[in-house]
Symmetry: C3
Subunit: 150 residues, 3 copies
């Protein structure tokens, strides 16, 4: 039924999951760095020990910093569950064509989500579309995993 070779670089479905997962980890970290840059540019620091000058005060309401933080949190809510469910989905031995395109859909949609949310603000429904493409693909994987488990 299940083949140990499923989690092997020789399985192209697993290799695709592996590649997109690593790209999305780098994308999440890019938002970390971007938050830090935005904090410096707007001089918005959340901790007294981070203040670069005695004239500064801690600040929590800069709209640019808060926007990047919302995009970052949205990543945690959506990409981190994908890491878990994508791996389990590979273990259900899905059809390669479908699985590979689902992984691509999640990866590309989440990159687009970050760009239209935090880098260049694009009017809705662009962000909503990117959000629901990734969510839909991940929900589909989760449902397949539930079916294979019970």
């Amino acid at each position: 039924m299940l083949d140990p070779e499923l989690i092997s670089l020789e399985n192209q479905v697993f290799r695709c999951y592996l590649g997109w997962s690593a790209i999305l980890v780098l994308k999440i970290f890019a938002l970390s760095i971007y938050t830090g840059l935005t904090r410096f540019i707007t001089a918005t620091f959340a901790n007294p020990e981070d203040l670069m000058s005695p004239k500064l005060k801690v600040k929590f309401d800069d709209p640019n910093v808060e926007r990047v933080r919302r995009a970052h949190r949205n990543d945690l809510e959506n990409i981190l569950p994908f890491f878990a469910i994508g791996l389990l989905y590979v273990l259900t031995n899905p059809a390669a064509f479908l699985a590979i395109n689902l992984f691509r859909a999640v990866g590309i949609a989440r990159i687009v989500h970050t760009i239209v949310y935090a880098v260049v603000v694009v009017p809705q429904p662009s962000r909503a579309l990117a959000f629901f493409v990734a969510l839909g693909a991940t929900v589909y994987m989760a449902l397949q995993v539930v079916l294979s488990a019970f």
Copy 2:
């Protein structure tokens, strides 16, 4: 010592982990959707581009939206580490009866946690109990994994 067949759908412990993980991913996403619904019902939007009418302004302090967001963040803090440690715990080849009931405990406790926190507010200690049942089971798994590693 360790059998590659541990991460196989033929291993009932792994299948139980797989099923509950997928259910909990769907549960986390249900809170995403529920946050969105609560935002629409209370007309609480965090981004200017999300405002449905020019009369609305961005708002960050609606108590209903904030409650759902706290429940959601609590999921990230507790369920996401479970995804990692549950898989590693399966690899320590635990006794099936114990492992299966630990996975059920985490799954059911976290569903109860969401219900009493974000859907129907139930007085304490209901939320605290649900929180500590899931936390206790996950900590137990983490300790077993530490013991098997060193």
Copy 3:
């Protein structure tokens, strides 16, 4: 190319990943408990049903609680992606010496990060250093995974 025995307790690289992951899960949960303790000590509760006395009101701006919450969120942003990428990095069959020291670097740096952020506030750049050591090691792993995938 890839050996199924890579994810086995007999592989010292995997065992090291397993042990540090479990320690970091316990570390994240320690911050959960610490948040709760700080809430009690400062009587800062976010939900009406949590108030211990009718004289208390919900409060969201206690600087001690908010500091622990920022440290906790930083863990979610950095440690949870490590759980995913560390496992995939093991599957690329890295040199044992390098991989084991990368895992140790992440584990120790994140523990130091928590201590200097939330327990005993130490002036910068201590927190920044701990942050970038863990980030650098995780980014290196992610890049190796990307290279092995495509």
